[in-house]
Protein backbone atom coordinates (compact mmCIF):
# COMPACT_ATOMS: atom_id res chain seq x y z
CA UNK A 1 0.00 0.00 0.00
CA UNK A 2 1.40 3.46 -0.85
CA UNK A 3 2.42 5.63 2.11
CA UNK A 4 0.90 8.68 0.38
CA UNK A 5 -1.93 8.83 -2.11
CA UNK A 6 -2.99 12.13 -3.63
CA UNK A 7 -6.34 11.59 -5.29
CA UNK A 8 -7.52 14.01 -7.94
CA UNK A 9 -7.03 17.18 -5.85
CA UNK A 10 -8.06 20.67 -6.82
CA UNK A 11 -6.55 23.72 -5.13
CA UNK A 12 -8.13 27.09 -5.78
CA UNK A 13 -6.87 30.54 -4.74
CA UNK A 14 -9.29 33.42 -4.19
CA UNK A 15 -12.24 31.22 -5.23
CA UNK A 16 -11.39 31.53 -8.90
CA UNK A 17 -7.72 30.77 -9.58
CA UNK A 18 -7.46 27.02 -10.22
CA UNK A 19 -3.82 26.12 -9.56
CA UNK A 20 -4.20 22.35 -9.20
CA UNK A 21 -6.73 20.84 -11.57
CA UNK A 22 -7.20 17.24 -10.56
CA UNK A 23 -3.69 16.13 -9.57
CA UNK A 24 -3.04 12.54 -8.50
CA UNK A 25 0.14 10.82 -7.40
CA UNK A 26 1.31 8.20 -4.98
CA UNK A 27 4.52 7.19 -3.30
CA UNK A 28 5.59 3.91 -1.76
CA UNK A 29 7.62 3.33 1.40
CA UNK A 30 11.37 3.79 0.81
CA UNK A 31 11.01 5.47 -2.58
CA UNK A 32 12.23 8.77 -3.93
CA UNK A 33 9.73 10.33 -6.30
CA UNK A 34 10.16 13.59 -8.11
CA UNK A 35 7.68 16.08 -9.53
CA UNK A 36 9.20 18.10 -12.37
CA UNK A 37 7.70 21.12 -14.02
CA UNK A 38 8.32 24.69 -15.13
CA UNK A 39 7.69 27.83 -13.06
CA UNK A 40 3.99 28.29 -12.39
CA UNK A 41 3.10 24.65 -13.01
CA UNK A 42 1.72 24.32 -9.48
CA UNK A 43 4.53 22.26 -7.91
CA UNK A 44 4.88 24.37 -4.75
CA UNK A 45 1.09 24.57 -4.39
CA UNK A 46 1.02 20.77 -4.58
CA UNK A 47 3.68 20.46 -1.83
CA UNK A 48 1.85 23.01 0.33
CA UNK A 49 -1.56 21.42 -0.26
CA UNK A 50 -0.25 18.03 0.87
CA UNK A 51 1.44 19.57 3.93
CA UNK A 52 -1.62 21.53 5.06
CA UNK A 53 -0.14 24.97 4.50
CA UNK A 54 -3.01 26.28 2.38
CA UNK A 55 -6.08 26.95 4.47
CA UNK A 56 -9.16 24.88 3.56
CA UNK A 57 -7.41 23.38 0.52
CA UNK A 58 -7.50 21.20 -1.50
CA UNK A 59 -11.08 22.05 -2.28
CA UNK A 60 -11.73 18.73 -3.96
CA UNK A 61 -10.12 15.30 -3.88
CA UNK A 62 -8.41 13.55 -1.01
CA UNK A 63 -4.93 13.01 0.40
CA UNK A 64 -4.35 9.71 2.18
CA UNK A 65 -1.27 9.37 4.36
CA UNK A 66 -0.71 5.96 5.94
CA UNK A 67 -4.34 5.08 5.33
CA UNK A 68 -5.76 8.24 6.95
CA UNK A 69 -7.13 11.30 5.20
CA UNK A 70 -5.03 14.41 5.86
CA UNK A 71 -6.74 16.71 3.37
CA UNK A 72 -7.49 20.11 4.91
CA UNK A 73 -5.85 19.18 8.24
CA UNK A 74 -3.66 21.74 10.01
CA UNK A 75 0.03 21.75 9.09
CA UNK A 76 1.26 21.04 12.63
CA UNK A 77 -0.98 17.98 12.89
CA UNK A 78 0.24 16.64 9.55
CA UNK A 79 3.84 17.23 10.64
CA UNK A 80 3.20 15.40 13.91
CA UNK A 81 1.91 12.43 11.90
CA UNK A 82 5.34 12.16 10.23
CA UNK A 83 4.89 14.06 6.98
CA UNK A 84 7.47 16.85 7.04
CA UNK A 85 7.95 19.56 4.45
CA UNK A 86 11.19 21.43 3.75
CA UNK A 87 9.70 24.53 2.13
CA UNK A 88 10.96 26.34 -0.95
CA UNK A 89 12.46 29.19 1.11
CA UNK A 90 14.01 26.54 3.43
CA UNK A 91 12.10 27.87 6.44
CA UNK A 92 15.29 28.41 8.45
CA UNK A 93 14.69 30.82 11.33
CA UNK A 94 17.22 33.54 10.57
CA UNK A 95 17.59 34.99 14.07
CA UNK A 96 18.03 31.63 15.79
CA UNK A 97 21.34 29.80 16.07
CA UNK A 98 21.90 26.55 14.22
CA UNK A 99 21.52 24.69 17.53
CA UNK A 100 18.23 26.44 18.32
CA UNK A 101 16.93 25.62 14.83
CA UNK A 102 17.76 21.96 15.42
CA UNK A 103 16.22 21.98 18.90
CA UNK A 104 12.88 22.94 17.38
CA UNK A 105 12.75 19.44 15.92
CA UNK A 106 13.60 17.82 19.22
CA UNK A 107 17.38 17.59 18.68
CA UNK A 108 19.47 16.85 21.76
CA UNK A 109 23.24 16.72 22.19
CA UNK A 110 23.04 12.91 21.96
CA UNK A 111 21.86 13.11 18.34
CA UNK A 112 25.35 13.23 16.84
CA UNK A 113 24.33 10.96 13.94
CA UNK A 114 22.99 13.99 12.12
CA UNK A 115 26.51 15.43 11.85
CA UNK A 116 27.71 12.32 10.01
CA UNK A 117 25.40 13.44 7.21
CA UNK A 118 25.91 17.20 7.64
CA UNK A 119 29.40 17.70 9.15
CA UNK A 120 29.47 21.46 8.43
CA UNK A 121 26.63 22.07 10.85
CA UNK A 122 28.62 20.74 13.82
CA UNK A 123 31.26 23.46 13.33
CA UNK A 124 28.56 26.15 13.20
CA UNK A 125 26.20 25.13 15.99
CA UNK A 126 26.43 28.49 17.76
CA UNK A 127 26.28 30.59 14.60
CA UNK A 128 23.20 32.66 13.73
CA UNK A 129 21.47 30.89 10.85
CA UNK A 130 21.22 34.05 8.81
CA UNK A 131 25.03 34.03 8.54
CA UNK A 132 25.11 30.60 6.88
CA UNK A 133 25.56 30.23 3.14
CA UNK A 134 22.61 29.14 1.00
CA UNK A 135 23.91 25.57 0.85
CA UNK A 136 24.42 25.41 4.60
CA UNK A 137 20.93 26.77 5.21
CA UNK A 138 19.51 24.05 2.95
CA UNK A 139 21.52 21.42 4.85
CA UNK A 140 20.20 22.85 8.13
CA UNK A 141 16.61 22.74 6.87
CA UNK A 142 16.99 19.10 5.81
CA UNK A 143 18.85 18.12 9.00
CA UNK A 144 16.10 19.74 11.08
CA UNK A 145 13.49 17.77 9.14
CA UNK A 146 15.19 14.37 9.38
CA UNK A 147 15.74 14.75 13.14
CA UNK A 148 11.98 14.31 13.34
CA UNK A 149 12.52 10.92 11.67
CA UNK A 150 9.80 11.63 9.09
CA UNK A 151 7.87 8.83 7.45
CA UNK A 152 7.71 11.03 4.36
CA UNK A 153 9.94 14.00 3.61
CA UNK A 154 8.74 16.50 1.02
CA UNK A 155 11.42 18.79 -0.39
CA UNK A 156 10.29 21.83 -2.34
CA UNK A 157 12.94 22.99 -4.83
CA UNK A 158 15.94 21.95 -2.71
CA UNK A 159 18.41 23.08 -5.39
CA UNK A 160 16.97 26.60 -5.60
CA UNK A 161 19.77 29.19 -5.45
CA UNK A 162 22.56 26.63 -5.10
CA UNK A 163 25.61 26.33 -7.36
CA UNK A 164 25.85 23.18 -9.54
CA UNK A 165 28.57 21.78 -7.24
CA UNK A 166 26.48 22.32 -4.10
CA UNK A 167 23.43 20.92 -5.85
CA UNK A 168 25.33 17.72 -6.70
CA UNK A 169 26.52 17.40 -3.09
CA UNK A 170 23.01 17.99 -1.79
CA UNK A 171 21.47 15.32 -3.99
CA UNK A 172 24.21 12.84 -3.04
CA UNK A 173 23.27 13.49 0.59
CA UNK A 174 19.59 12.93 -0.22
CA UNK A 175 20.50 9.63 -1.88
CA UNK A 176 22.45 8.64 1.25
CA UNK A 177 19.48 9.57 3.42
CA UNK A 178 17.26 7.33 1.35
CA UNK A 179 19.69 4.42 1.37
CA UNK A 180 20.92 4.59 4.97
CA UNK A 181 17.89 5.89 6.87
CA UNK A 182 15.31 4.54 4.39
CA UNK A 183 13.72 7.99 4.26
CA UNK A 184 10.85 8.17 1.78
CA UNK A 185 11.01 11.39 -0.23
CA UNK A 186 8.89 13.41 -2.58
CA UNK A 187 11.05 16.00 -4.32
CA UNK A 188 9.46 18.90 -6.16
CA UNK A 189 12.13 20.23 -8.53
CA UNK A 190 12.94 22.09 -11.70
CA UNK A 191 16.43 20.66 -11.87
CA UNK A 192 15.70 17.42 -13.70
CA UNK A 193 19.36 16.53 -14.34
CA UNK A 194 20.15 15.79 -10.68
CA UNK A 195 16.73 14.73 -9.47
CA UNK A 196 16.15 12.14 -12.21
CA UNK A 197 19.51 10.59 -11.27
CA UNK A 198 18.40 9.75 -7.73
CA UNK A 199 14.67 9.16 -8.11
CA UNK A 200 12.82 5.88 -8.61
CA UNK A 201 9.78 7.39 -10.27
CA UNK A 202 8.81 10.79 -11.59
CA UNK A 203 5.97 13.02 -12.68
CA UNK A 204 5.91 16.03 -14.97
CA UNK A 205 3.47 18.80 -14.17
CA UNK A 206 2.25 21.56 -16.39
CA UNK A 207 -0.49 24.13 -15.81
CA UNK A 208 -1.75 22.37 -12.70
CA UNK A 209 -1.99 18.91 -14.25
CA UNK A 210 0.22 15.86 -14.46
CA UNK A 211 1.21 15.50 -18.11
CA UNK A 212 3.63 12.60 -17.82
CA UNK A 213 4.67 9.97 -15.31
CA UNK A 214 7.00 7.04 -15.37
CA UNK A 215 10.00 5.27 -13.89
CA UNK A 216 13.33 7.10 -13.72
CA UNK A 217 14.55 5.36 -16.88
CA UNK A 218 11.35 6.33 -18.72
CA UNK A 219 11.99 9.94 -17.75
CA UNK A 220 15.57 9.76 -18.95
CA UNK A 221 14.49 8.21 -22.25
CA UNK A 222 11.63 10.58 -22.94
CA UNK A 223 12.65 12.82 -25.83
CA UNK A 224 10.65 15.83 -24.73
CA UNK A 225 12.02 15.70 -21.19
CA UNK A 226 15.52 15.26 -22.60
CA UNK A 227 15.09 18.37 -24.69
CA UNK A 228 13.37 20.54 -22.15
CA UNK A 229 15.04 19.48 -18.91
CA UNK A 230 18.15 17.47 -19.63
CA UNK A 231 19.66 19.56 -22.42
CA UNK A 232 19.54 16.72 -24.92
CA UNK A 233 18.65 17.02 -28.59
CA UNK A 234 15.35 16.12 -30.19
CA UNK A 235 14.93 14.94 -33.76
CA UNK A 236 13.06 17.37 -35.85
CA UNK A 237 9.49 16.30 -36.36
CA UNK A 238 7.37 16.95 -39.38
CA UNK A 239 5.66 19.68 -37.40
CA UNK A 240 8.77 21.38 -36.07
CA UNK A 241 6.89 24.56 -35.24
CA UNK A 242 4.96 22.68 -32.55
CA UNK A 243 8.18 21.77 -30.77
CA UNK A 244 9.29 25.36 -30.96
CA UNK A 245 6.06 26.53 -29.34
CA UNK A 246 6.46 24.00 -26.52
CA UNK A 247 9.99 25.17 -25.85
CA UNK A 248 8.89 28.78 -25.66
CA UNK A 249 6.13 27.93 -23.24
CA UNK A 250 8.32 25.87 -20.92
Amino acid sequence: MPILEVKNIETVYYDRLYVLKGVSLEINQGEIRVVLGPNGAGKTTLAKSISGLIKDQPRKGDIIFEGRSIARKEAEKISSMGLVLVPEDRGVFPELTVEENLKLSGWTKKDTWVFDLFPNLYQKLQEISNHLSGGEQQMLAIARAIIKKPKLLILDEPSLGLSPKLTNELFKTLKRLNEELKTTMLIVEQNARVSVEICHYGYVMENGKMVFEGKADDLKDNELIKELYLGGSVKKTEKGWKLYKTRRRW
Partner: protein, 283 residues
Protein backbone atom coordinates in the same frame (compact mmCIF):
# COMPACT_ATOMS: atom_id res chain seq x y z
CA UNK B 1 16.87 63.24 42.02
CA UNK B 2 13.11 62.92 42.75
CA UNK B 3 12.27 63.45 39.09
CA UNK B 4 14.87 60.89 38.12
CA UNK B 5 13.36 58.33 40.49
CA UNK B 6 9.78 59.05 39.47
CA UNK B 7 10.85 58.95 35.82
CA UNK B 8 12.55 55.62 36.29
CA UNK B 9 9.55 54.35 38.23
CA UNK B 10 7.02 55.06 35.48
CA UNK B 11 9.62 54.04 32.89
CA UNK B 12 9.75 50.58 34.46
CA UNK B 13 5.95 50.35 34.39
CA UNK B 14 6.05 51.33 30.72
CA UNK B 15 8.63 48.58 30.20
CA UNK B 16 6.24 45.97 31.62
CA UNK B 17 3.34 47.22 29.53
CA UNK B 18 5.34 47.68 26.34
CA UNK B 19 6.90 44.25 26.67
CA UNK B 20 3.43 42.74 26.38
CA UNK B 21 2.71 44.90 23.35
CA UNK B 22 6.02 43.74 21.88
CA UNK B 23 5.38 40.04 22.53
CA UNK B 24 1.95 40.13 20.94
CA UNK B 25 3.14 42.22 18.01
CA UNK B 26 6.07 39.91 17.27
CA UNK B 27 4.02 36.72 17.29
CA UNK B 28 0.82 37.95 15.62
CA UNK B 29 1.76 41.28 13.91
CA UNK B 30 -1.19 42.83 15.73
CA UNK B 31 -1.13 45.97 17.88
CA UNK B 32 -3.28 44.98 20.82
CA UNK B 33 -5.19 48.14 21.77
CA UNK B 34 -7.04 46.17 24.45
CA UNK B 35 -3.77 45.52 26.30
CA UNK B 36 -4.30 48.34 28.82
CA UNK B 37 -7.95 47.44 29.35
CA UNK B 38 -7.23 43.76 29.94
CA UNK B 39 -4.61 44.84 32.50
CA UNK B 40 -7.16 47.21 34.07
CA UNK B 41 -9.56 44.28 34.48
CA UNK B 42 -6.86 42.39 36.42
CA UNK B 43 -6.27 45.43 38.60
CA UNK B 44 -9.99 45.69 39.41
CA UNK B 45 -10.11 42.00 40.26
CA UNK B 46 -7.04 42.43 42.50
CA UNK B 47 -8.75 45.37 44.23
CA UNK B 48 -11.93 43.38 44.87
CA UNK B 49 -9.99 40.36 46.13
CA UNK B 50 -7.93 42.59 48.43
CA UNK B 51 -11.10 44.06 49.90
CA UNK B 52 -12.30 40.53 50.65
CA UNK B 53 -9.05 38.83 51.71
CA UNK B 54 -6.77 41.73 52.74
CA UNK B 55 -3.87 39.85 51.19
CA UNK B 56 -2.60 42.25 48.55
CA UNK B 57 0.18 40.10 47.12
CA UNK B 58 -2.06 37.10 46.38
CA UNK B 59 -4.83 39.42 45.13
CA UNK B 60 -2.44 41.03 42.66
CA UNK B 61 -1.18 37.65 41.40
CA UNK B 62 -4.72 36.23 41.06
CA UNK B 63 -5.89 39.43 39.32
CA UNK B 64 -2.98 39.16 36.88
CA UNK B 65 -3.76 35.49 36.30
CA UNK B 66 -7.39 36.38 35.46
CA UNK B 67 -6.17 39.03 33.01
CA UNK B 68 -3.94 36.43 31.40
CA UNK B 69 -6.82 33.98 31.04
CA UNK B 70 -9.14 36.63 29.53
CA UNK B 71 -6.41 37.61 27.09
CA UNK B 72 -5.72 34.00 26.15
CA UNK B 73 -9.42 33.33 25.54
CA UNK B 74 -9.73 36.54 23.54
CA UNK B 75 -6.87 35.38 21.33
CA UNK B 76 -8.08 31.82 21.01
CA UNK B 77 -11.75 32.50 20.22
CA UNK B 78 -11.67 35.88 18.50
CA UNK B 79 -8.24 36.73 17.10
CA UNK B 80 -7.20 33.20 16.10
CA UNK B 81 -10.55 32.55 14.47
CA UNK B 82 -10.23 35.89 12.67
CA UNK B 83 -6.76 34.92 11.44
CA UNK B 84 -8.09 31.56 10.29
CA UNK B 85 -10.85 33.26 8.32
CA UNK B 86 -8.34 35.53 6.61
CA UNK B 87 -8.91 38.80 8.51
CA UNK B 88 -5.79 40.92 7.96
CA UNK B 89 -3.70 42.38 10.84
CA UNK B 90 -5.35 45.80 10.46
CA UNK B 91 -8.81 44.25 10.81
CA UNK B 92 -7.64 42.27 13.84
CA UNK B 93 -6.18 45.44 15.40
CA UNK B 94 -9.60 47.09 15.03
CA UNK B 95 -11.13 44.06 16.75
CA UNK B 96 -8.80 44.72 19.72
CA UNK B 97 -10.12 48.31 19.87
CA UNK B 98 -13.68 46.96 19.94
CA UNK B 99 -12.74 44.55 22.71
CA UNK B 100 -11.20 47.43 24.70
CA UNK B 101 -14.53 49.29 24.60
CA UNK B 102 -16.46 46.16 25.57
CA UNK B 103 -14.18 45.67 28.58
CA UNK B 104 -14.56 49.30 29.64
CA UNK B 105 -18.35 48.99 29.60
CA UNK B 106 -18.13 45.73 31.50
CA UNK B 107 -15.89 47.34 34.15
CA UNK B 108 -18.30 50.27 34.59
CA UNK B 109 -21.21 47.84 35.11
CA UNK B 110 -19.32 45.75 37.69
CA UNK B 111 -17.20 48.34 39.53
CA UNK B 112 -18.91 51.64 38.75
CA UNK B 113 -17.46 54.76 37.17
CA UNK B 114 -16.11 56.48 40.30
CA UNK B 115 -12.31 56.30 40.82
CA UNK B 116 -11.04 54.06 43.63
CA UNK B 117 -7.99 53.96 45.88
CA UNK B 118 -5.60 51.06 45.38
CA UNK B 119 -3.28 50.11 48.26
CA UNK B 120 0.46 50.10 47.81
CA UNK B 121 2.57 46.97 48.21
CA UNK B 122 5.06 48.95 50.30
CA UNK B 123 5.02 52.24 52.19
CA UNK B 124 7.73 54.55 53.54
CA UNK B 125 11.31 54.66 52.37
CA UNK B 126 14.07 52.17 51.77
CA UNK B 127 17.32 54.09 52.45
CA UNK B 128 16.93 57.18 50.27
CA UNK B 129 14.42 55.59 47.87
CA UNK B 130 10.63 55.43 48.18
CA UNK B 131 9.64 51.84 49.09
CA UNK B 132 7.10 51.74 46.24
CA UNK B 133 9.91 52.55 43.79
CA UNK B 134 12.04 49.70 45.19
CA UNK B 135 9.12 47.28 44.82
CA UNK B 136 8.52 48.38 41.22
CA UNK B 137 12.24 48.08 40.46
CA UNK B 138 12.55 44.59 41.96
CA UNK B 139 9.33 43.23 40.44
CA UNK B 140 10.22 44.66 37.02
CA UNK B 141 13.72 43.19 37.16
CA UNK B 142 12.35 39.83 38.29
CA UNK B 143 9.75 39.71 35.51
CA UNK B 144 12.16 40.89 32.82
CA UNK B 145 14.86 38.42 33.85
CA UNK B 146 12.21 35.70 34.00
CA UNK B 147 11.06 36.58 30.50
CA UNK B 148 14.64 36.68 29.26
CA UNK B 149 15.23 33.21 30.69
CA UNK B 150 12.00 31.81 29.21
CA UNK B 151 12.52 33.24 25.73
CA UNK B 152 16.27 32.65 25.43
CA UNK B 153 16.96 29.51 27.44
CA UNK B 154 13.94 27.23 27.14
CA UNK B 155 12.55 25.21 24.24
CA UNK B 156 9.26 27.02 24.67
CA UNK B 157 11.07 30.35 24.25
CA UNK B 158 12.76 29.08 21.09
CA UNK B 159 9.29 28.17 19.78
CA UNK B 160 8.03 31.69 20.56
CA UNK B 161 10.98 33.22 18.69
CA UNK B 162 10.55 30.79 15.79
CA UNK B 163 6.86 31.67 15.41
CA UNK B 164 7.72 35.37 15.50
CA UNK B 165 10.08 34.83 12.57
CA UNK B 166 8.19 32.35 10.39
CA UNK B 167 4.81 30.94 11.39
CA UNK B 168 4.50 28.69 8.37
CA UNK B 169 7.88 27.04 8.90
CA UNK B 170 7.06 26.61 12.60
CA UNK B 171 3.89 24.74 11.68
CA UNK B 172 5.81 22.43 9.31
CA UNK B 173 7.93 21.40 12.30
CA UNK B 174 4.85 20.41 14.25
CA UNK B 175 4.90 23.43 16.59
CA UNK B 176 1.37 24.23 17.73
CA UNK B 177 1.19 27.90 16.78
CA UNK B 178 -2.24 28.22 18.39
CA UNK B 179 -1.06 26.95 21.77
CA UNK B 180 2.21 28.87 21.85
CA UNK B 181 0.65 32.18 20.80
CA UNK B 182 -2.24 31.70 23.26
CA UNK B 183 0.34 31.39 26.02
CA UNK B 184 2.15 34.48 24.74
CA UNK B 185 -1.09 36.46 25.12
CA UNK B 186 -1.45 35.05 28.63
CA UNK B 187 2.07 36.11 29.63
CA UNK B 188 1.71 39.55 28.02
CA UNK B 189 -1.49 40.32 29.93
CA UNK B 190 -0.26 38.72 33.16
CA UNK B 191 2.73 41.07 33.14
CA UNK B 192 0.50 43.97 32.05
CA UNK B 193 -1.88 43.43 34.98
CA UNK B 194 1.06 43.25 37.43
CA UNK B 195 2.19 46.60 35.99
CA UNK B 196 -1.36 47.92 36.49
CA UNK B 197 -1.40 46.89 40.16
CA UNK B 198 2.07 48.41 40.69
CA UNK B 199 1.16 51.77 39.21
CA UNK B 200 -2.40 51.86 40.59
CA UNK B 201 -1.39 53.37 43.98
CA UNK B 202 -0.02 56.40 42.09
CA UNK B 203 -3.39 57.01 40.41
CA UNK B 204 -7.04 56.50 41.20
CA UNK B 205 -8.29 53.29 39.63
CA UNK B 206 -11.08 53.62 37.10
CA UNK B 207 -11.69 51.93 33.76
CA UNK B 208 -9.46 54.46 31.96
CA UNK B 209 -6.58 54.69 34.42
CA UNK B 210 -4.15 52.65 32.26
CA UNK B 211 -4.99 54.44 29.04
CA UNK B 212 -2.27 57.07 29.48
CA UNK B 213 0.45 54.58 30.56
CA UNK B 214 -0.57 52.26 27.71
CA UNK B 215 -0.19 55.00 25.10
CA UNK B 216 3.16 56.07 26.53
CA UNK B 217 4.44 52.50 26.73
CA UNK B 218 3.39 52.08 23.13
CA UNK B 219 5.40 55.18 22.26
CA UNK B 220 8.31 53.73 24.25
CA UNK B 221 8.13 50.53 22.21
CA UNK B 222 8.10 52.49 18.95
CA UNK B 223 10.97 54.74 20.06
CA UNK B 224 13.07 51.74 21.09
CA UNK B 225 12.15 49.55 18.14
CA UNK B 226 9.00 47.43 18.18
CA UNK B 227 10.80 44.31 16.98
CA UNK B 228 13.67 44.35 19.49
CA UNK B 229 13.08 43.44 23.17
CA UNK B 230 16.07 45.45 24.39
CA UNK B 231 14.91 48.39 22.29
CA UNK B 232 11.48 48.17 23.88
CA UNK B 233 13.02 48.28 27.38
CA UNK B 234 15.34 51.20 26.59
CA UNK B 235 12.65 53.15 24.69
CA UNK B 236 10.17 52.82 27.55
CA UNK B 237 12.67 54.00 30.15
CA UNK B 238 13.65 56.95 27.92
CA UNK B 239 9.98 57.94 27.64
CA UNK B 240 9.43 57.65 31.41
CA UNK B 241 12.52 59.70 32.23
CA UNK B 242 11.94 62.32 29.52
CA UNK B 243 8.31 62.79 30.56
CA UNK B 244 9.09 63.27 34.25
CA UNK B 245 12.22 65.38 33.87
CA UNK B 246 10.50 67.62 31.33
CA UNK B 247 7.40 67.82 33.55
CA UNK B 248 9.50 68.60 36.63
CA UNK B 249 11.88 71.19 35.24
CA UNK B 250 10.15 72.74 32.25
CA UNK B 251 6.38 72.37 32.08
CA UNK B 252 4.05 69.85 33.65
CA UNK B 253 1.28 70.95 31.27
CA UNK B 254 3.24 69.90 28.23
CA UNK B 255 4.88 66.74 29.52
CA UNK B 256 2.55 64.42 27.58
CA UNK B 257 2.89 66.57 24.48
CA UNK B 258 6.66 66.32 24.93
CA UNK B 259 6.46 62.51 24.86
CA UNK B 260 4.57 62.67 21.58
CA UNK B 261 7.13 65.18 20.30
CA UNK B 262 9.91 62.66 21.09
CA UNK B 263 7.99 59.96 19.20
CA UNK B 264 7.56 62.31 16.24
CA UNK B 265 11.26 63.17 16.12
CA UNK B 266 12.26 59.51 16.38
CA UNK B 267 9.83 58.45 13.68
CA UNK B 268 11.26 61.10 11.37
CA UNK B 269 14.94 60.44 12.10
CA UNK B 270 14.96 56.72 12.87
CA UNK B 271 11.61 55.23 11.87
CA UNK B 272 12.65 51.70 12.83
CA UNK B 273 13.36 52.84 16.42
CA UNK B 274 16.62 52.97 18.40
CA UNK B 275 17.45 49.26 18.17
CA UNK B 276 14.90 48.21 15.56
CA UNK B 277 15.87 46.68 12.26
CA UNK B 278 15.88 48.89 9.22
CA UNK B 279 13.31 47.68 6.70
CA UNK B 280 14.75 47.70 3.21
CA UNK B 281 12.74 46.82 0.19
CA UNK B 282 14.28 45.46 -2.95
CA UNK B 283 13.53 47.47 -6.05
Amino acid sequence: MDYLISGLQVGLIYVLLSFGIFLIYRTTRILNFAHGDIATLGTFIALTLHQKTENLLISVVVGAFCSGVVSMLFYRFIIYEGERRGVNPLGLTIITIAFAYILQSFEIVIWGAEPKDFPSLAYGRFFIFPAQFVVILLVSLFLMLGMYFITMKTNFGIQIRAISQNREASATLGISVKKVVSFVWFIASFIGAIAGSLIAPLYFVDQFFLFDPFVKSFIGAVVGGLDNPFGVVIGSIIVGLAENIFGGYISIKFKTAFVFFIALVFLLIKPEGLLGREIKERV
